[in-house]
Amino acid sequence: MKILQTLEKISFKKIVSFTFLAAIVLSIPVTVWVSQQETKLASKAYFEKPEVIKPIQKYGAPPSGEPRIDLVWPFLGKPGDAVLIEGENFGENPRDKKLIFSGQLVPETDINRWTPNLIEFLVPQGSNSGLISLETGGKTAGWPYFFTVYNLQTKIQVTENNDILRIINAPQGTKIEVFFTDGGQLISDQPQAIRLPSDKTIVSVLVKNSQDHLLPFFVEPEEFGF
């Protein structure tokens, strides 16, 4: 009743002014609240930027048996390319491990995966063609075939089509050596057409000059199945 009596005393003009001001004052929190609700749904700013999840390096037990490399695939690559080593008894990423690539220790950062049966690593920067070996739990294993390292400037290319190997952009006197999974080997100094046995699978290829020095070369992966 007191409010009504007060209202009676206040003029309409004042009421209008008061109401207008009150509306503005009350609208501010409403506007802010609604904006916040919408922002919650839409804006990145509402959420704290999540931290980058980094892979956790976990070390496991060394192998109990003798490690053995069954395949290094593919047989060539550029620095930074992924390579797989298949085999047995590599251990579950043991602390005590070494991967040697062409006489150079592969840094831990370049080893993407180390499981009992599979190792994935990146061809180290600045490395040359050579052999691959590993040491795990104090035991060693090696791969008898050369791994070829090439770069983007490499011109020599080996192609394979319908079991015929060809070498492109090779200098005179270039020889090719092809190794198969069954241990067989094929050596040819006829780089224009080397017929491959159709029942065999290539495990490695080497290109040598007339002085028997290794020449870097590249292949198109789809032709060799990697």
Binding site: F20, A23, S27, V34, E38, P74, E222
Partner: protein, 263 residues
């Protein structure tokens, strides 16, 4: 008790004003013995009129200001009784009150919806931000009935042919966009010269993928996008997170049954 009230009304109510007596039980002080001081035969000559029209009311008050008590027309004070007249509320007061309530309600509702509309437009972005929109492509599945396929046709740049539309599957679960490796040759790329990675396929098998970039067109916008060329020949090209989902808003507009790719 009735006598007491009657006497009070007869003696002190002026004119035809009527009063509502309030029982002294509501008063903290004990009731004085008014009736005992007056003989019962002194009955009021004026009867109390029933309350038909809005009339001033008398309310009891335990304490009343002396000035008010001296005003005979407004309040009557007797030991134990206090009565006060209350004026009727004018219609203008109700009008003012209604104005305040309605104005505030309208203003707050307006502020709510206006802010929501503006924020909503900002949140979902306006239509001119749409780079590409594609209607849902329904596919009939044996077990699930009609389900739309999140396929979009995007022009891809081929050096020999220019931009050619290619159908991609939108896959937010894919880390990176991918193309079958035979596409590399069409795009003038040599896999041997591209960086090689691995990816885990179905059944835990590890395969090689080659990282490259393709040029695509979204609306009028041309952009370079990272892709991998995988050996899964014959599979659909995929648009993944890296370089695509992370840079665009992909909106599945169920109401309009279309996929919208926005800036």
């Amino acid at each position: 008790m009735d006598n007491k009230i009657d006497q009070l009304s007869a003696h002190q109510s002026p004119g035809n004003q009527s009063f509502q007596p309030i029982k002294p039980s509501s008063v903290s002080q004990p009731a004085p013995s008014v009736s005992s001081a007056q003989p019962p035969q002194e009955k009021p000559t004026l009867p109390i009129k029933p309350l038909t029209d809005p009339q001033p009311q008398i309310q009891s008050q335990s304490k009343l200001e002396p000035a008010q008590a001296n005003e005979p027309n407004l309040a009557i004070q007797q030991p134990g009784f206090t009565q006060q007249e209350v004026k009727p509320v004018s219609w203008t007061v109700w009008l003012k009150l209604a104005y305040i309530v309605l104005f505030l309600a309208a203003a707050l509702t307006g502020a709510f919806f206006l802010t929501r509309k503006i924020s909503g437009q900002y949140a979902s972005q306006v239509d001119d931000q749409i780079l590409l929109q594609v209607p849902y492509q329904p596919v009939l599945w044996k077990d699930f009935g009609e389900v739309f396929e999140p396929l979009v046709e995007i022009p891809v740049y081929y050096p020999s042919k220019g931009f050619i539309k290619k159908s991609f599957l939108l896959d937010s679960g894919a880390l990176v966009s991918s193309l079958p490796r035979e596409e590399a040759k069409n795009l003038g790329l040599s896999l041997a010269k591209l960086p090689r990675s691995t990816f885990a396929g179905f059944g835990g098998t590890t395969s090689f993928a080659y990282r490259g970039e393709i040029k695509i067109k979204l609306g009028e916008q041309e952009l370079e996008m990272p892709v991998v060329f995988t050996e899964a020949a014959g599979t659909k090209p995929i648009l993944g997170r890296s370089g695509f989902f992370e840079k665009h808003s992909i909106y599945f507009n169920a109401k309009r049954e279309r996929i919208e790719i926005r800036k």
